[in-house]
């Protein structure tokens, strides 16, 4: 983190990281019509964070996105997913039966769309949170990644 020989790397990374995150959300919300989905989007968001950590250091990353946040995010994601199942139960259907969310007859798709979008948000939170937690756990063992380590 000293000296100027990482300047190009840092400038390029600063330009790239927002694009990576936007691409992750594109993958997330176009999962209905294209390849990809919440699993891939969650991994891409985690990779953006890891790129930030590799270029700017783990301490800065942990200040921006604290570890308690990532592990809570992973848990909240699973709860969102499971919550949709209980929502369907309370609406009178089976567990995770999206058709029952709004009590629609077969052929109506609002419940399906809402259910899929909500569970995909849950998967996004769970995957990105868990992946970042794993990275923090591994990278947190060494104080700072030095140039000689490569």
């Amino acid at each position: 983190m000293k000296g100027d020989h990482h300047m190009i790397l840092r400038v390029i990374a600063k330009c790239l990281i927002p694009l990576i995150v936007i691409y992750a959300f594109y993958v997330q919300f176009h999962g209905e019509v294209g390849p990809g989905g919440a699993f891939q989007a969650g991994v891409i968001i985690a990779v953006a964070l890891i790129l930030y950590a590799l270029v700017f250091g783990l301490t800065a990353t942990m200040r921006a996105v604290p570890p308690w946040f990532t592990r809570s995010l992973a848990a909240v994601g699973v709860m969102i997913y499971a919550g949709v199942g209980f929502w369907a139960l309370l609406s009178g259907g089976d567990y995770l039966e999206y058709q029952a969310l709004f009590g629609e007859p077969p052929g109506e798709h609002h419940g399906q769309h809402a259910g899929i979008i909500i569970i995909e948000i849950g998967v996004l939170c769970a995957v990105s949170g868990a992946m970042t937690t794993i990275f923090y756990a591994l990278a947190g063992r060494v104080a700072e990644i030095r140039d000689e380590d490569w």
Binding site: I44, Y52, R63, L73, V78, A137
Partner: protein
């Protein structure tokens, strides 16, 4: 699209090229001792196999391989590599015979099994004719989602995906419980540089706004 289904000469050549690259990379990984080079080459292996998956029309699998195999696992392996030695220990030549025989037998069994596999894009294969065809026929009326992969993953097999999400969460939890959350090293680094003014924690998750 149709060319891939039929499998013309050009597609076959590109297939052979990709598989040859995979073979060479795998050989290089087996022979190298430097862990950094091995981690990087395994990323290359994932990227090439992702391109090959897309060539055989498994777009979702290729995407996942590129994101998880080439992106995430390379980064995690690099992080793990920093905790250990930089080179693998050289082993005795006699010890290589056992793994070699296991690989040989497994490879022969896989090739023997692949003789019975249906051809790529075969409309009468069990995967295309049975439950897959049914999903394609009833999906639009049931869910109204254009991408059948999404509707199968999220709606028809929502239980499976819930289980997978729980598995990912459990994996993160297990690693964190074994290795710690990484906060101790952060606190140590902060104690070593007391002059660094602590900035207020940003509430956004993207980390790109800084």
């Amino acid at each position: 699209m149709t060319e891939v289904m039929i499998g013309g000469t050009g597609t076959a050549l590109i297939n052979i090229l990709f598989l040859a690259i995979l073979f060479v990379v795998a050989l290089a990984i087996a022979r190298l001792r430097s862990l950094f080079a091995i981690v990087m080459l395994s990323g290359v292996y994932s990227l090439v196999s992702a391109a090959w998956y897309i060539l055989v029309d498994a777009v979702d699998v290729g995407f996942t391989e590129a994101a998880v195999g080439a992106g995430m696992s390379t980064a995690v392996l690099l992080g793990a590599m920093l905790l250990t030695a930089r080179t693998a220990k050289p082993e005795k030549p006699l010890k290589r015979i056992g793994p070699f025989i296991v690989c040989l037998v497994t490879g022969v069994m896989l090739i023997y099994g692949s003789i019975d596999l249906p051809a790529l894009g075969d409309a009468t294969s069990p995967a295309n004719a049975g439950v897959g065809l049914t999903y394609l026929q009833i999906n639009w009326f049931d869910t109204g989602v254009p991408n059948v992969v999404t509707s199968v993953l999220a709606s028809y097999r929502g239980f499976d995906t819930l289980g997978e999400t729980a598995v990912v969460f459990t994996a993160g939890l297990a690693v964190a419980l074994l290795l710690g959350f990484g906060e101790r090293s952060l606190a140590e680094t902060l104690r070593k540089q007391p002059k660094a003014a602590p900035r207020p924690a940003a509430s956004n998750t993207d980390g790109g706004a800084a």
